[in-house]
């Protein structure tokens, strides 16, 4: 299991959720938060690593209307795009650098 949902938000609709990421920490948490806070519909987004000895990362999303799960998926896809583009550009620059 790599991801689950923290209980407690069931009554408040689908727009607010806390997800638990297993075996992840600040690397993914902060980068993902950076993207998701910049979405127009998001009211709040934050992450925490509750205890340094447990490899878990809690990720909180509160939105006005969009379901939190949708926002999470969109965030992950956007971050993936950023990484892929960075990789592509880096490869290109390295090749260019080696030519000269």
């Amino acid at each position: 299991m790599r991801i689950s949902e923290l209980p407690g938000d069931e009554d408040g609709g689908v727009t607010c959720r806390t997800y638990v990421f297993y075996n992840e920490s600040h690397t993914l948490g902060n980068a993902l938060k950076c993207i998701i806070t910049r979405y127009t519909d998001v009211r709040f987004c934050g992450y925490t690593v509750p205890h340094p000895a447990e490899s878990k990362m809690h990720f909180r999303i509160q939105a006005h209307e969009t379901p939190a799960l949708e926002i999470l998926k969109r965030g992950l896809k956007d971050l993936e795009k950023v990484c892929e583009y960075t990789e592509e550009l880096f490869e290109q620059e390295i090749n260019e650098f080696k030519k000269n």
Binding site: S4, C34, L72, L89, E96
Partner: protein
């Protein structure tokens, strides 16, 4: 006027930082991938020997830090994980010796190997490398040279990483060459011995990541800083110019033939705020850093492995992909927690 005038700056004033990343601006922007793509640039500055310097320009601090963290802890490399000690009569204890051996960087390309499962009893040629080290220190029979030099009076008084021998298993002998598999440096001192001391070891190297143990980290260090920018607001001449030059790192401020100071190369300034100690020149300088221009320096352990940086981007995008797929199902899993 410099090219940096229109870029977002964090101002290093005498008693405070103004316009830090979270103050205003950067954090309020709406996310737009196209805009990111348009502004994002990578510049490779230098690759010499084991050091590499490159710039990521137009990127959020969160991504910059994520990439640094990935380089350190999530890019795989090969390292010695298990040491079978058949004989060790040297002064260095078994466990200390094993730890030292683990830290020796290996040339083996991790992309050619797979992760070994934790419960696998036997390694295969696709996930394991085996090495041996068998040395005995004896008196040098022909005491020809200087008897006060230990290297001349004893054989094998120093054990170096070059004495580690690779033992191919399975198909490895035909696929790899010894020169591509052994230790990166041949001159790493493993232990010192005296006559009668003996070391006989069998070592097993596997693929791992820095999160598990620092020995698997492909970089020695990886760090980033923001590009410094220095602007002179008025003419600084003669003795004042010399004083100004002294306030910054060597090579940052130049003095021309008329005795006027100018900013030669702000990039390698350490951004110490020495200049604010002198009342007569502190009004002449605006010190700042470009907020979205990150200068990375990474010293790699193996010369051949510039690819590690490439791999780091892959690693994050892979983990995103995994989560993007697995986030389809958290609703069902949540019931278990409730």
């Amino acid at each position: 006027m410099s090219d940096n005038d229109n870029k977002p700056k964090i101002l290093l004033e005498e008693f405070r930082l103004k316009n830090a990343a979270n103050d205003y601006g950067l954090a309020d922007e709406i996310w737009n991938f196209k805009k990111f793509k348009k502004h994002f640039k990578i510049v490779i500055v230098r690759i010499d020997g084991f050091e590499m310097e490159f710039d990521l320009i137009g990127i959020q601090p969160a991504f910059a830090n994520a990439f640094r963290r990935l380089m350190l802890s999530e890019v795989p490399s090969m390292a010695i994980e298990k040491v079978m000690i058949k004989n060790n009569t040297s002064l260095i204890q078994d466990e200390v010796l094993a730890h030292r051996l683990g830290l020796i960087p290996l040339k083996a390309d991790p992309r050619l190997f797979q992760y070994r499962l934790e419960d696998a009893a036997e390694g295969t040629d696709s996930n394991t490398l085996e090495y041996t080290l068998k040395v005995k220190c004896v008196n040098n029979a022909a005491k020809t040279k200087d008897p006060h030099k230990t290297e001349d009076s004893y054989e094998n008084s120093n054990i170096y990483s070059s004495q580690i021998k690779w033992h191919p298993i399975g198909n490895q002998a035909s696929t790899y060459k010894e020169a591509d598999i052994g230790p990166v440096h041949g001159d790493i001192l493993i232990s010192k011995m005296r006559p009668g001391h003996e070391i006989d070891l069998h070592m097993i190297a596997i693929k791992g990541i820095g999160k598990d143990h620092a020995k698997f980290s492909p970089v020695a260090t990886a760090s980033y800083r923001l590009l410094p920018d220095i602007t002179l607001t008025r003419i600084v001449k003669d003795s004042e110019a010399v004083l100004l030059q002294k306030c910054f790192s060597p090579g940052v401020i130049g003095i021309n033939s008329e005795g006027c100071a100018y900013v030669k190369e702000a990039r390698y300034d350490t951004c110490s705020r020495n200049v604010y100690r002198y009342d007569k020149i502190k009004d002449a300088v605006i010190m700042s850093r470009i907020r979205d221009h990150f200068i990375y320096t990474a010293s790699q352990l193996c010369r051949k492995r510039q690819s590690y940086v490439r791999a780091k981007f892959k690693s994050l995008s892979n983990s995103c992909l995994v989560f993007a797929q697995s986030s389809d199902v958290p609703e069902t899993i949540s019931n278990m927690h409730a």
